[in-house]
């Protein structure tokens, strides 16, 4: 297992409320790492520490280190837009940008000036294909993105995120707003994408975690209770709290 992201002594406070307590762990490259735990345990906070989204809320205090490829993303002088370009986010509910389907995918390429010397049209098609949306939208690329169904919107958001060529994909319960078929579709995409991307996702659905995870982080009340390869954690959980959670006690 090769480490991609390393978290060291991470503590996060919202005001006087401590959301993450002394987190230290490593996240493997090109695997699906699932963060699970009951609601309010700090899963999303941990996820958002990886693309520096925590600092968007006021009164958040972050101590400790998050290293991506050995580089501390919280070090002074680090360009936050570079971090977010490297670690794409698939949100809980899809939020397409207020523009056409085509422009949604082209948006990231344009702001990062990545379209120079490239065929923008071909790039848009490429990422829509990876997200499994191309066949459904190829005849209406210039329709408003809000005309898509919610499941299609989530795949559009995936295509949009992939277009800026991230190394890491963060998923914040990315299927929770979707119908079962759309959710299955997204899960399949994630399984395909782990060949090339490091995927970290939060879920509160135990069965989804079992289906997708290569590596598991189990959190409870802001602490990491247990983390390790999925087989080990699911088959032989060492901590009583993990055993209780896996057997559905909370």
């Amino acid at each position: 297992m090769q480490t991609h992201i390393q978290i060291r002594d991470l503590n996060v406070h919202y005001g006087s409320n401590q959301a993450l307590k002394n987190i230290s762990l490593e996240i493997p490259r090109q695997q699906i790492t699932v963060i699970m735990g009951p609601s309010g345990c700090g899963k999303t906070t941990m996820l958002k520490s990886l693309n520096r989204f925590l600092e968007l809320s006021d009164d958040t205090h972050i101590q400790g280190y998050v290293l991506i490829d050995g580089q501390d993303i919280y070090a002074p002088g680090v360009d936050v837009t570079e971090i977010r370009k490297k670690a794409g986010l698939l949100a809980q509910r899809p939020f397409p940008l207020p523009m056409s389907i085509y422009d949604n995918v082209a948006y990231g390429l344009r702001i990062h000036e990545m379209q120079k010397g490239r065929d923008l049209q071909a790039a848009v098609q490429h990422y829509l294909e990876i997200a499994g949306l191309w066949d459904e939208v190829k005849d209406r690329l210039h329709s408003p993105a809000n005309s898509l169904s919610i499941g299609q919107q989530q795949r559009l958001c995936l295509a949009r995120g992939l277009a800026v060529e991230p190394e890491i994909l963060l998923g914040d319960e990315p299927t929770s707003a979707l119908d079962p078929i759309s959710a299955q579709n997204i899960e399949q995409r994630l399984l395909d994408l782990k060949q090339e991307y490091t995927i970290v996702m939060v879920t509160h659905i135990l069965r989804q975690a079992r289906r997708l995870a290569d590596y598991v982080i189990f959190m409870y009340l802001g602490e990491v209770v247990e983390h390790g390869p999925a087989d080990e954690v699911f088959e032989n959980p060492r901590q009583p709290r993990t055993q209780a959670y896996l057997s559905g006690q909370f």
């Binding site: 977010r84 207020p98 948006y107 990062h112």
Partner: protein
């Protein structure tokens, strides 16, 4: 009958009454202006400037006031937009709900409430101190001040309705706050911003008191920013205060022109904003 049904019935009647009051007032105003103004309205009114003896009932028109009003309100709206949009974006993107932001909003609300004659007097004093004469420029500046709080607060409210997740969707792609503001926030808000701009334009073009001292009044169409200019509200005011019935009727014709212009602007903006809403995210 159950008590809740009776309550609902009473409320429905009250709502119908208030709707009738609003629609009735609008209809009454339009009808008055139409009945009194239409007979005096002719092509000459719209295409000519006042000739000698116009204010005694002789020939001429109010083209000077029509063009003057468009110049004044157009210039002021543009100026207010140039200041107001960055201010509204700044308020939302950088200041948010922090204390400094509420102070700015409070100031804008107070400015919104200030009567336009006070703006006029303020502008007049300022122009006296600067040695400026009543002019198109003076009128535009004071009207822009009058429109600024209206436009900025209207845009601020629109921008505040912006779903935070939409901004985050852009930030998550590595966009800066400025790129997000310019390419996403502005686009999502465009229909609302347009409404805010036209609200301010409507307020500006209909205001008499603020241009009374600052823009002056003249029978000529201004050819430079430093010349005085006529305006429709003042054309109504001056003509209505003459003792001659023909001239008073022309005041109603001028009011009709002004009302028609505002109606066109507001209907046009509704059509445009409905078209642009196609892309916005709910």
């Amino acid at each position: 009958m159950k008590k809740s049904h009776i309550e609902e019935g009473i409320l429905k009647i009250l709502m119908l009454l208030s709707f009738g009051l609003v629609a009735g007032s609008l209809g009454f105003i339009l009808l008055t202006v139409l009945i009194k103004g239409l007979p005096a309205l002719n092509l000459a009114m719209l295409t000519q400037t006042p000739k000698g003896g116009y204010y005694l009932g002789k020939e001429g028109g109010i083209l000077n006031a029509i063009i003057g009003s468009l110049y004044l309100a157009g210039g002021a709206t543009l100026l207010a937009l140039l200041l107001g949009l960055p201010m509204a974006l700044y308020l939302e993107t950088y200041v948010g709900r922090a204390r400094w932001g509420s102070l700015v909003r409070l100031s804008l609300d107070v400015l919104w409430g200030i009567p336009s004659i006070v703006y006029g007097a303020f502008g007049f004093t300022l122009m006296l101190a600067l040695g400026m004469r009543a002019s198109l420029l003076g009128g535009i500046l004071v009207l822009a001040l009058l429109e600024l709080p209206i436009m900025t607060r209207a845009m601020d409210e629109v921008i505040r309705m912006m779903p935070a997740d939409l901004e985050q969707a852009s930030l998550a792609l590595g966009a800066t706050r400025l790129e997000t503001a310019l390419r996403v926030v502005t686009r999502q808000m465009l229909p609302g911003i347009l409404t805010a701009v036209l609200l301010a334009f409507g307020r500006g073009i209909g205001d008499a008191a603020s241009v009374l001292f600052t823009a002056g009044y003249t029978d000529r169409i201004p050819t430079s920013l430093l010349q005085p200019t006529a305006s429709l509200p003042l054309a109504v005011f001056f003509q209505l205060s003459t003792p001659f019935p023909e001239v008073q009727q022309r005041a109603y014709a001028a009011a009709l022109v002004l009302t028609a212009m505002i109606l066109c602007v507001s209907l046009g903006s509704r059509w445009l904003s409905a078209r642009m809403k196609r892309y916005t995210i709910k």
